[in-house]
Amino acid sequence: MNQEKHFSDEFLNAFVDNQIAAEEKSRAYVEIGQDEALNRQVCELRKLHDLVQLAYREPPAPPARAASGTNSRQARLRFGVAASVLLTLGIFLGSQIRMPATAPSVTAVPVPAAATQQMAKAVPPAKPARTKPAAAADATDHVATLQPTAVVPAAEPAAVPAPVIARNEIPDNTATKVLIHLARDDIDQLSQALDDIESTLKHYRETRQNARVEVVVNGKGLELVRTDTSAFAGRIQRLQREYDNLTFAACQNTIERLAREQGIIVRLLPGVITIDSGMAEIMRRQNQGWTYLQV
């Protein structure tokens, strides 16, 4: 029994749990082998140890599950952080890309009230896109009923913003946008200009390019689209019928000047729209990414 004192309970537990150094362990094996009581004690301890092990073999699952829970929670947190970073980045980039697209349309907003009102008359607000002016529209719709002296206050305030909004809402996914500027009245030059316009439209159609062509007439060029002076009324109507991506736009400043200086009440060919100012339109369109040609 004296031998027992050589080994404390702590030592024996450690022995059973296999937590002592090999050197000490071999010494303990010798002594335990010689002492029957000690041997029995160790045996009991071992049994207890095994039972505990057995009892814990099943339950350890819940703690393990709890651990994996924290893991997945961490993973979810990490995923969430990554997603929110990506989202923020996406919003930022999106706003960056949108900025230049929205900016030019803002420049198109300031249109003098007088011109806008005229546009409201020439282009019915219900029409969503400027690209397809109804060729069949009554020509009297396009008569510039102008009183040269009247400054034209905002008599119809509700009608004023309509055409401007319609203008900005044009779905603009066209790859090529060409503005052709006509400011001369020479018959040969106008004829050549129409040749150019037609061959360009034909070229874009044949090469399957999604293009829009806007012909801006001002100054003497306006004669091309006046019912009383145009030498090419039939040809213009045919072009408008054949190409729905073609628009003729007449300068309101020129129309007003003709009324003021020469008393001419301008009647435009059907389907020809008016714009506030030819020069302003040219600059606006270039800001919007249109290419410009003077023919």
Partner: protein, 146 residues
């Protein structure tokens, strides 16, 4: 992991610096001259404008294209007989100017670029003059109508 991060950072920096270099680096000025008229005096003046433009910038720093369509194609018809005009065209070509002719015009006016026009080869022909002017502007060429 750290190595990967460093490499990524390096790659990003390289891309950024390249972007800055192209933004601020010296790029050629790109210009398209549009000619669609056949008045000899006007044409002579237009080629004079081009020459002065190149002299002002330096021929190594500018990329000029002269696009002719409609009556403008007559420029190279005139250059066949008018030696002064011919010299102007030759001089500008030496400075790197490209003279481009509209094929629509050649077809419509039944012009043979080989027989009727001065020094035009197939590479100088574009399908549509107007579309070419538009196309060049989309590529960043500045439009000038002299």
């Amino acid at each position: 992991m750290r190595k990967l991060l460093t490499l990524t950072m390096l790659a990003v920096l390289t891309v950024l610096s390249t972007g800055c270099a192209t933004m601020f680096g010296e790029e050629k000025q790109k210009v398209v001259y549009h000619i669609n008229y056949n008045d000899e005096k006007q044409l002579g003046a237009a080629l004079g404008n081009v020459k002065n433009h190149i002299n002002a910038i330096g021929k190594d720093k500018i990329d000029v294209k002269v696009v002719m369509h409609g009556n403008g194609v007559d420029l190279l018809k005139i250059a066949n007989t008018n030696l002064d005009m011919q010299q102007k065209v030759i001089g500008l070509k030496k400075s790197g100017v490209a003279f481009q002719v509209c094929n629509n015009t050649l077809v419509n006016k039944k012009i043979s670029y080989k027989n009727d026009l001065f020094d035009v080869s197939e590479k100088d022909i574009v399908p549509s003059g107007v579309a070419e002017v538009a196309n060049l502007q989309q590529q960043g060429y500045v439009y000038i109508k002299p």
